[in-house]
């Protein structure tokens, strides 16, 4: 093989560069990082069980959107038998008042940017 030395060094360098993110994560412990969420409420119950809300809140919000806007039904009977008003800026944000420390933190971690807040108003946007 011609230029054996160069090729092998090249491959080794390439592999090292490729592994940098993984090595970085394993040495700094960043891979195990999980965002810390603060709800900012003393309320113990959400409109759904915790596990369900964690994985499926977007589906629930989608259903809420359809029921409120298209069917004009603005109340939601939750799993715990309580009735909630269907409102993102009302019901949701009332408890999860610190949007930045709750919604945003996890969404940033997951690398997604929901468009809800382009229209729906939260405390920071309110202007009087």
């Amino acid at each position: 093989m011609y230029d054996r030395g160069k090729i092998i060094t090249g491959i080794i360098l390439f592999v090292i560069v490729l592994l940098i993110p993984f090595l970085y994560n394993s040495f700094t412990g960043r891979a195990a990082y999980v965002p810390e969420l603060t709800t900012g409420t003393s309320e113990k119950e959400c409109v759904g069980p915790k596990a369900f809300m964690r994985t499926d809140h977007m589906k629930l919000l989608d259903v809420w959107k359809e029921t409120a806007v298209r069917q004009g039904v603005r109340t939601y009977r939750a799993h715990n038998g309580k009735t909630y008003t269907i409102s993102l800026s009302g019901t949701c944000i009332e408890c999860h008042a610190q949007k930045e420390q709750f919604c945003d933190r996890c969404h940033d971690y997951a690398g997604i940017t929901p468009k809800c807040w382009n229209c729906h108003v939260y405390e920071k946007v309110v202007r009087k």
Binding site: K65, V69, R70, Q71, G72, V73, R74, S89, G90, K115, N118, C119, H120, V121, Y122, E123, V125, V126, R127, K128
Partner: protein, 255 residues
Amino acid sequence: MKRRDFLKIATLTLAGVSVKPLTNLFTKPALADISSQGTQRGLPQWVMVVDLDICGKKDECTDCIEACNRVHNIPLIKDSRHEVKWIWNAPFDSIFREQGFGRVHEEWPKKSVPVLCNHCENPPCVAVCPTKATWKREDGIVMMDYHRCIGCRYCVAACPYGARSFNWKDPRPYIKEIHRDFPTRTKGVVEKCNFCEERLARNLVPACVEACKEGGLIFGDIRKEDSMVRKILSTRLSIRRKPHLGTEPKVYYLL
């Protein structure tokens, strides 16, 4: 087939078919039935009446417009190309010209008249919307679902009353007070008057009606026999915008 066999099969079939209706007797109606229940009960049909005898008495009154702008987070953009309007004032002559009423009274042509979405019985905007982002509710309100609007502006072109506005830019910097009770809109969607659907849901009259202290705006259910709007419309002469188009507006103007 023997007569006996036929009877056996027939009885079994009947028993099989009757399972579903029988179980229905013991179950609650499904959630999907809510809409049809509404029709049976006879949902209201909302109409608005603008009394031109009262409206415009106070010089350059914009109470109704300001109230609407406030509750619906409507941006105030000076550039007329980017303007967003739900309810606004227009000269009588420009909106009723083809009906020839301008000649009846000297002052009328220049009179300022509030105009808004007519919530047509046959809404052309609904017919053209490719995503059903705008549709007619059972109570007659022509609704917008901003989530679904793709900003094609077909409805803006279809509306004969100019009642629809497009958000050419982010409206938020242009809103004086932003309230939490109602969402703002975003760049790229169309918007218009919603007959205060969100307030009707809370048993409140539309914001413009509430704001008109003189009582120039009357709102109510035309289906209800003893409703104010029905009484007024049956006793006084009223006109609607562009009746020849057959859109059947639900905003009436009393002469």
